[in-house]
Symmetry: D3
Subunit: 172 residues, 6 copies
């Protein structure tokens, strides 16, 4: 196993077509169906990074901005944004495309976290993640803050000790 | 349309069986499949509350604790926890059950937010939510704090102005 | 394994949303899709009662009264109504709900019978069923008559010996 | 619309392969999945007979004898057995086949009843059914008795007036 | 294992209903969904011929003539047309049917080729195919020419050595 | 509508995970399921090129070389290789990936042809395709030969007039 890998090496591009059974009564893609596809894309990115089976540990807050319509195309791009000891944060970017009108629009962004498992189902070490581009570096840096938030929301960290997050709430 | 309704009136109980296609290579329910079912259960609870079509606006941080196994049963309970102007926060509680060993275990909790739409797809007012039990009141109170967090994470509120949240990060 | 259990302990509540692929050309839920969901709900109720894997042995006459429409909600409630030596009769009650118009309607009732199996796939004993409410007692009593009918229809009992059923056809 | 048609003209032959998601924990086809396929095969037979859309009105008692295994083939044969005013009874015969061992076995038989609808969703007249072979004549004759049973079970006929059925319960 | 079998013995008839999720934006059956059903029908025909598991080796050029509409019936008929050493060519004939208008139309024809495998996944011998009817004999004879074409297209035969095919391109 | 577009502009990358229901008894991806995904990927590429709805007109000979296993990843890359009057040939390249063993392998290549339709379902003109790279130029040139083969196989061209193809069968 390599000790470190770039973000680019884990990149997964998924393309899906919105079919009738994927839509609500307005003919828009249901949020749950999109989260299902995002989970698979993100898991594949995490597996490419660590070369081991992975399980979804958590999903960060997702906000659905522009609905994707029946017959439109869903583009999902997933890349590992930071690796911790045995877990990996994956950044997802989703856009819709109306191929008839040649119009592409941003739908939403999200972060999924996965844990790598050994054959007995125990957590195992993963390679470090090396960010290269400016955007990758920004995602890498933000990952610490998001991790503190996850720990607080999961009841595993006391908010007063989350120094990175705390700073956000204080006037300069 | 009633001006207010109780939390209980919106309650939805969903039961699903984990089939082979719902599982990862460890024979555990995939996180994405579970989020798909949760989205439908939560949307039904929101529709019962407002009597109008709804769309998923956001999903809060979800942490997957205990995996649910192939052949086990998934129990999802969804109830509106608070109504705002045209949106509703739905609280979801998920547990797994091994019917053979008569063993039921908590899997995870989550909050999904929905917006009610009129026939033209514009947001419309929804009835207020009246919490009755102790647990419903606690969920109702926490909803404000979670909403501030959603607005901050969505870039729609300045953290220094989220007074409710801010208090959490300050030592007494 | 307990020697006897109440009907209530086996209760399963399933909620499904009617999606496009579940409907016929009139936009109504297809009977076969409903019977599929009923089979799973009933199997789960039987498994909760006996704590063992079960297989569908038979389905009694089902009559479909009110069609359930696309976008409506399907409510299925299943409870063991009587246990025999190694088989269990499960009573199912199905209703539809138009969440937009806040209107709930009865769709149909049915009885599914399951056999409990040991790890080698042989039939095994199941706990007795204790009915508690008036309705549960009525279902419990009727189970004998329905069982005679199943045996006759399956060619395993001579109609002239089905004393319970026979009585129904005789003027007082 | 023809005034009458033969049973043979409505014949539908359906062949399906049992895939992982169709099976229970024993690797056998779930009863509910089979009833779903049977419903579609029977509906197609009824549509061929009447040349109009149809809806499932009822399903008679089904008994599942031999389970069909994962990877085996399901053969469903459906034919209208008798036409009434606006409804049609369809006879179904199901067998399994293990193509590797070149072994075919009977699984079960069933009767589904359909109602023909006009474009406004009202029941409409259907052509009479002409049985030709010995087997078709036997199914045609038995249809009256099964119809009395359906009416009694649906609470629409008093058992003491079901003369055809009643005779079965009396010693010669 | 028999040394030879007739074409008729391998015949498989499959009937499917076109549901919403099977269609493109014109409400016509998607080509890919049809090829999926054809693959299963053809595999079953090949398995009936050889009594062993099979894998799809290749699919010949398919041309989609008449689209099959939502709510219409798909009829697929598959029969082994010729057996080679360890492979079998299966001929498929597909038609659509509008049951309401009692109108049946040819959709397309195709040839799928399968290889029989032993329990270790190695190719194994299959029985010879005996064509009986005029049409079966014509399909049997054409199989050699189609096989040369497959080998050329797969880069496994030099076109100048495909004597059967070459003749087609030469003026008499 | 642009008069011409590059091949690159139509590129679609699809990534899928092989789930239990996609596999045959050897745990390998079924050919029919793969052809279903390929059809969607190719249709999306064709729609991106012409900005109009498309229907599958034909699929060229596909040969399945390396089976893709359960739990592996399927990579499909589709690009328009040549445009004719109202039809487009799409080149597809499929590979499998075992993410655990970090091993990627070529599975197969194919050509699907689509026709662009106007709102009345009639064929309409499409932009010309401009190949840029060496590989794109080779695919562009070969398209004429493959088209002749399609016309001959579809009975719409006399082999003796297919000068491009004919040359292949003649010794230099």
């Amino acid at each position: 196993m390599a000790n470190s890998k770039t973000s680019k090496e884990s990149k997964v591009v998924m393309t899906e077509l919105v079919l009738p059974n994927d839509t609500n009564t307005f003919g828009n893609l249901m949020g749950g169906r999109l989260m299902y596809w995002m989970d698979i894309a993100a898991a594949l990115a995490a597996m490419k990074h660590c070369g081991a089976p992975v399980v979804t540990a958590s999903v960060d807050n997702i906000s659905f901005e522009s609905p994707i319509k029946l017959g439109n195309v869903v583009h999902i791009e997933a890349k590992v944004s930071r690796a911790f000891n045995s877990s990996m944060e994956v950044h997802l970017s989703v856009s819709g495309e109306d191929a008839i009108h040649q119009y592409k629009y941003k739908s939403n962004e999200a972060y999924y976290t996965f844990v790598a498992l050994d054959p007995n189902g125990k957590a195992r070490k993963v390679p470090q993640l090396i960010p290269e581009t400016e955007e990758e570096k920004k995602l890498f840096d933000g990952a610490l803050r998001r991790r503190q938030l996850r720990l607080i929301l999961g009841g595993k960290m006391d908010p007063t000790e989350a120094s990175e997050l705390k700073a956000l709430f204080e006037k300069p």
